[in-house]
């Protein structure tokens, strides 16, 4: 199905693609540039593109004012921890739905997904009260639990679609070969689903990393993640654009790098099932 494309069309598409890519990248680029400007340059009425007085003082100020590394550590613990916890619950759940479905399986899947459609504010008060009573407010493990629960529907859905692609014969062969359920999952299902599990893991780490609503409302100082860290730079002290940019850059850098190096897995994860 090779299509002959004329050179002008090719050039046109290339320019359009670059334009769209730059448009999407512009805010990140601007943040990057602003982070290295002085405050006065950042808010200058005629903005400069490249920093005129290249400086690292914003980063120093940010680290000094609110401990970046502590927040980054919390982010890592919460995003990786909640994803692993989610996988531990999600793999058996998706196994059951993919290989031992009942009449209600489809309904349960839809119901799980529907919980993602509800605005989070809708359950803010009950969850806040539960967290207060269980003394989970502003704790890393509390945040990990809530993040696991938020992302569990997506984890199960993704694993379910991957598992559906695995021929059930192979699992039955394992059963005939004397594998109990645990061995069937660990020695046969999981190794065959490694690509799917990897992209589920990546996507959910990113989702948990970027989550802002619950991290900001359920934490104050101790358990704050990087999203809470950025938000602390936004309003109360007037406009400190350069520092805010530096903080944002620091917050997104780890996940940006992770995403960059795992593009292939991510694209496969997001489009899986669209084309066989």
């Amino acid at each position: 199905m090779a299509r002959n494309v004329s050179t002008p069309t090719k050039v046109g598409f290339t320019i359009a693609a670059w334009a769209v890519a730059l448009l999407l990248f512009a805010p990140i680029l601007w943040t990057l540039l602003t982070a290295f400007k002085t405050e006065s340059e950042a808010i200058a009425s005629s903005p400069t593109f490249l920093p005129q007085n290249f400086t690292l003082e914003n980063f120093a100020a940010v680290q000094e004012r609110s401990d970046y590394f502590k927040h980054a550590f919390n982010s890592i613990v919460v995003s990786v921890g909640s994803t692993l916890l989610g996988l531990i619950i999600g793999v058996p759940a998706a196994w059951a739905m993919a290989f031992a479905p009942t009449k209600r399986t489809k309904d349960i899947l839809m119901w799980m997904l529907s919980t993602k459609m509800m605005p989070a504010v809708g359950v803010l008060i009950p969850i806040y009260l539960i967290f207060r009573d269980l003394r989970l407010l502003d704790t890393v493990h509390g945040l990990t639990i809530i993040m696991t629960l938020i992302n569990l529907p997506i984890i199960i859905w993704m694993l379910y679609t991957y598992f559906k692609e695995i021929p059930v014969d192979i699992l039955e062969a394992a059963r005939m070969d004397g594998a109990e359920l645990w061995n069937e999952i660990v020695h046969v299902l999981v190794p065959m689903a490694v690509p799917g599990i990897a992209s589920t893991l990546l996507l959910n780490v990113i989702l948990a990393w970027n989550e802002a609503f619950w991290t900001i409302t359920l934490t104050s100082g101790r358990a704050g993640t990087l999203t809470a860290f950025i938000s602390s730079f936004s309003s109360p002290q007037g406009l400190f654009l350069a520092k805010l940019s530096a903080a944002s850059l620091l917050a997104i850098a780890p996940i940006l790098l992770l995403g960059w190096f795992s593009q292939k897995q991510l694209v496969r994860g997001l489009t899986f099932g669209a084309v066989k």
Binding site: P167, D169, I170, E172, A173, A174, R175, M176, D177, G178, A179, E180, N183, H187, V188, P191, M192
Partner: protein
């Protein structure tokens, strides 16, 4: 040991009844083939024995022990699937060793048994390959190897040759038969191909709509079919059936004559069936004639390969009177 008894086994999927009620006794060391048209429940029956499906009623005994509720892993049976169902992420060696690892066998025992299976099945030089680097026949051998090492009470084969090409199928058929003679383990083999059934089985179970139509040796089924269904299913080409007046002459609702049980004549003979050849299939050894018989319909005749009938020839057919099968209105053999 490996005797298998089914007592009033039933299976329904929701409202749909697949197996109404089956009772069967399979002796230790027997090669039994389940044969029947697609959808007759033969694979379901095998999966019930394997434990991959739960029964809706009845009892399954393995060596006299009630295994109706036991999970597949505990039944001590091995299964070979149509799709081979090899573990794609493991080498051939690991595939064959998997059941032994699950049984927590010591490493020396595993190596020794894998070696033996590989030798038996000519897989020695492929042990370190992955399944995707093997041909269909080799994959099926690995699947059989994986079954052998368990030393199961019985082997279950679910249409294992359907994915292979015709020549390979004949080879594998022989290999499996030889394997049975060598191991003397009970084997249950599911197929829709009656030639496979006839050539491999000690005894054949003919299934239709979830019911056992007949259970007997291949020749018993061929010579003494219990009913019209078995008569039509066993034998290739199929038996010819005649209803109405011609059947009434033999005091039957319908009669059947196998293609090989006719005498052919080119000249008019009184009192025999007259017809015209529509198609002559020349196989070399045999010639299959499709004959439009006046008043009786299309029939298939097996003639000698030297016969030179062609389209449009007149032919006079004399059925062998001693080999006419008679059936009553319900299709039962009289």
């Amino acid at each position: 040991m490996g005797s298998i008894s089914l007592e009033h086994v039933k299976k329904s999927f929701g409202e749909v009844q697949i197996i109404p009620d089956i009772t069967l006794d399979i002796k230790d060391g027997e090669f039994v083939v389940f044969v029947g048209p697609s959808g007759c429940g033969k694979s379901t029956l095998l999966r019930l024995i394997a434990g991959l499906e739960d029964t809706s009623g009845g009892t399954i005994l393995l060596d006299g022990e009630d295994m109706t509720k036991a999970p597949p892993a505990r039944r001590g049976l091995a299964m070979v699937f149509q799709s081979y169902a090899l573990y794609p992420h493991m080498s051939v060696r690991d595939n064959i060793a998997f059941p032994l690892k699950m049984a927590k066998a010591p490493k020396e025992v595993i190596d020794q048994k894998v070696e033996y299976a590989a030798r038996t099945l000519n897989l020695g030089s492929y042990l370190d390959r992955r399944p995707r680097a093997l041909s269909g026949g080799q994959r099926q051998r690995v699947a059989i190897g994986r079954a052998i090492v368990r030393e199961p009470k019985a082997f279950l084969f679910d249409e294992p040759l359907s994915n292979l090409d015709a020549a390979l199928r004949v080879n594998m058929r022989l290999e499996i038969t030889e394997l049975h003679q060598q191991l003397k383990t009970t084997m249950i083999y599911v197929t829709h191909d009656q030639v496979e059934a006839m050539t491999m089985a000690d005894r054949i179970v003919v299934l239709n709509a979830g019911n056992v139509e007949q259970f007997g040796s291949p020749l018993e089924l061929y010579k003494k079919p219990a009913n019209r269904f078995v008569a039509g299913f066993i034998g290739s080409p199929k038996m010819n059936f005649v209803d109405g007046q011609e059947a009434a002459k033999h005091n039957a609702h319908s009669i059947g004559v196998r293609p090989e049980h006719f005498a052919l004549n080119r000249t008019a003979t009184p009192g025999v069936w007259k017809g015209k050849v529509t198609v002559a299939e020349l196989l070399g050894s045999d010639t299959f004639l499709h004959v439009q018989v006046e008043g009786l319909g299309l029939m298939t005749i097996r003639a000698d390969g030297d016969e030179t009938y062609t389209h449009g020839d007149d032919v006079y057919l004399t059925p062998d009177a001693t080999r006419i099968y008679r059936f009553d209105a319900a299709g039962k053999a009289i």
